[in-house]
Amino acid sequence: MKTHFTSLDRHVSCECDYHEPDRWRNLLAIGAEPGLVARGSGLSYVAASFSEGGTSIGMRQFNRILALNEQARWIEVEAGVTLGKLYHVLIPRGLQLPVQASYHTITVGGCIAGNVHGKNHGREGVFGRHVLGLELFHPRHGVITASPTENAELFDLTIGGFGLTGIILRARLALAPLDGAEVEEQTIPVGSLEEAFREVGRLQNEVDMLYAWLDLANPHRPTGAGFITIARTVSGPPVKVEAFGERLEPNRPDWRRQRVFRAATLPWINRLYRQMGLRHAGPRRVPLSALLFPAVGKEFYFHLFGEPGFLEQQVLIPSPAVDGYIPEFRRRLTRHGVPVALTTLKAFKGGRRHLLHYDGDGFSFTIDVCDGRNARALLADLDDLNTSVGAMTCVIKDSRLSAEVVRRQYIGWGELRDGLAAFDPERLFGSALSKRLEL
C-alpha cells in the first residue's frame, strides 16, 4: 500500500509502497524491485527504511525468539524482535544484550543495520561486535547465511550496512551476564565543556554506564555546564521487570507535536532540567531499563520541536583533538546564534574505523537543534570543523549530511559502496539515506 513515512527528526518525508508480510511465504515472495529496504520500528533519525517511490518491507511480524542458550550465552531471534521484548525475556534470566539502543521498540534488525552503540562503548563496543551470525534474504540470491566464518565479506557489509545487502531475517547474538536489574545512579555537576570532557574521560573505566548532559541553550554564553550521570549495576536477585508504555510513532499526526523549543524558552528549560538533575543527584536506585532506554517516558521531547522537527549531529572526536575542538566549536555556535536543545557526551574506546561504522576512540558529542536556516548553516560550519580535526559524524543521526562530507570523514565509504556493488550489481536495496550518501 502507498504510505507516507517520516524520519524521526521529521527532516525527510517520502511516499513509498509498504508491505508488512506476516508469513514466511509472503516475505520470501518479495520481488526484485529497485528501492527495496527492510523497516523495523521506523525510529531511525534519518530516512534509512524508506525512499521516495521505493518499497519498504515491514518486519514487525517477524519478531519471535527462536532459541536461547543460557549456558553458552547466545540468543537467536528474528530481525523484527524488539529490544524491549528481549529485555523482558533476558533480565529475569540474569542476561542482557551487551549493547542496546535507546528505545525499547527498536528492532534487532535495525541495530545490526545501523551498528548502533550503547551506554558503555569502552567496555562493549558496538552492536555488530556481538552478532555471531545472521540470515539474509535477497531476491536475486535467496536466503544466505553469513557469519565471521561463512560468507564473511557479506557479513561484514551487512553489519552497519544500513540494510543495503538485503533483508535481515534472523540473527544469533551473544549475551552478557547481568548482576542485577537495578542500577545505582548518581549525577555529578560539571561547570564547563572542558570539565565535562575531562571527567567523562577520567570516569569511563570506573563505572558501568556514563554520559554527560550539558547546557548549550544560550549560544552567546555556551559554557556547557551540566552534569554527568554515572551508574553501576547493583548485585542482587532479579527484580520484577516493568512493562513499557508509550510507543514513539513519527508517522502519525499528534496534537502534542507543538513547537516549544525556541531561542527564548530553551535557556529556561535547560536551566530547569539541570537543576532537577542536580537536585536528585543521588546515589539512587533506578530500574536498569531507565538507563538502557532513556527515551522511554520522555517521548514528549521529540514533540517539543514541533512539526518542523530537529537536526541532530553526533560526532566522534578523537581524544587528542578535544582541546582544540572545544573553543572552535563555541566560537561557531556563538557566531550562528543557534540554541542547542540537547547536548550529550559519551566516551568511546577501543573501536576500529571501518566502512561507515561510528566506532573508534574518542568522545561522542551530540547536539540537537531546531531545524531552520541558521541551524543548517551552523551544522554545515561544524562539518568543516569536524572534518578538520579528524572527527566522524554519525550517518544514521544526521539527515542533512552530504556524501561529500562522509567521503572526507570516513575512509571506508568507497569500500562499502564497492562491496555493495559487487554483491548486488543491480543495487536493488536502497533508501533515501543511501541515495543521499551516494552508496
Binding site: Y18, H19, D22, R23, W24, R64, I65, L66
Partner: protein, 246 residues
C-alpha cells in the same frame, strides 16, 4: 495446566490466541500450513512462557482430521480447548463465477475441514468440563451479497454447524461453545485497504475471546458493535439492498 489446540495458528488472530493462551500457561498444539511459521512461534512461546508447544504443518485443503487429533492427544494427553481460526478467502475474485477448484478450496478450508476437525475431537469435547470450542465466522456471512459469495456461504454453514455443536454439547458436562462473527481484523486480509469501519487488532480480539472462555455464549459479534451494523444491513429492504455495492 490447560491444553489447547489452535487450527490456523501461524498469523493474525490464531497467533495472537496462541500467545495469549501461552501467557496463561496453556500447553499448545498448533496447526497451520507452513512449518516455517510454526517453528519460530513454538520456539518463542516456549522460551517466553515455559509452556509445551507442539506444531503440525498441515494443508487444510487435504485435511486428515484423524491425524491432527492423534498428534494433539499424543502431545497434550487430552484437549480442553479447540479453537478453529483458519480461513481462506479471495475477495478479489469471489464475485460471481469462479473456478470449481476455487469453490472447492473455499468450501473445504472454511467449512468441511473445520467440521472434520471438530467431529474428530467431539469425544474429547464432550468430556472437557471447563473447556471451550471456539469458531471463527465472519460478518460477511450474515447477509448474502455479490462479494465473498462462496466464502460467505461457507462461513454461514460453519455457523450452523457450531449451533448444532452447541446443542449437542448442551446437556453434557463438556466444552462450552463460542462462535464469533468477526468484523475487520488488522491482518494481511485487510492490509492496505480503505475500510468503512475500524479494524480490530488481533491481540484485542484474542483477549476478548479468551475472556469469554467458560461462557455458553453461542454466536456473537466481535467487536460487539458489529451487531448494530449488521442489524441495520439486514433491515435494508431488498429493493434497496439489491442496488448496493457492498
Amino acid at each position: 495446566m490447560k491444553r489447547s489446540v489452535i487450527i490456523g495458528a501461524s498469523a493474525g488472530l490464531g497467533r495472537a490466541l496462541a500467545e495469549r493462551l501461552a501467557a496463561l500457561g496453556h500447553n499448545l498444539f498448533l496447526v497451520a500450513s507452513d512449518q516455517r511459521d510454526l517453528a519460530p512461534l513454538a520456539g518463542d512461546l516456549t522460551i517466553r512462557f515455559g509452556v509445551d508447544v507442539t506444531v503440525l504443518a498441515a494443508d487444510l485443503y487435504r485435511v486428515d482430521a484423524g491425524l491432527i487429533r492423534e498428534r494433539a492427544l499424543s502431545a497434550l494427553g487430552g484437549v480442553d480447548n479447540l479453537l478453529l481460526i483458519a480461513g481462506f478467502s479471495a475477495p478479489a475474485i469471489d464475485r460471481g463465477a469462479i473456478t470449481p477448484e476455487m469453490v472447492d478450496r473455499m468450501i473445504t478450508i472454511n467449512l468441511s475441514a473445520m467440521i472434520q476437525v471438530v467431529n474428530a475431537f467431539l469425544p474429547e469435547l464432550a468430556n472437557a468440563q471447563g473447556g471451550n470450542l471456539v469458531g471463527a465466522g465472519s460478518v460477511a456471512a450474515v447477509r448474502g451479497r455479490r462479494s465473498n459469495m462462496v466464502y460467505g456461504a461457507a462461513k454461514r454453514g460453519l455457523e450452523g454447524y457450531f449451533e448444532s455443536c452447541r446443542h449437542w454439547l448442551a446437556n453434557k458436562a463438556g466444552a462450552r461453545v463460542q462462535f464469533y462473527r468477526l468484523g475487520y481484523l488488522e491482518t494481511q486480509m485487510v492490509f492496505g485497504q480503505k475500510l468503512p469501519f475500524p479494524a480490530l487488532h488481533p491481540d484485542a480480539a484474542a483477549a476478548a475471546i479468551v475472556a469469554h472462555f467458560g461462557q455458553d455464549t453461542g454466536t456473537r459479534y466481535l467487536p460487539r458493535w458489529w451487531w448494530l451494523v449488521m442489524t441495520l444491513i439486514r433491515l435494508i429492504p431488498w429493493v434497496i439492498f439489491k442496488r448496493l455495492e457492498i
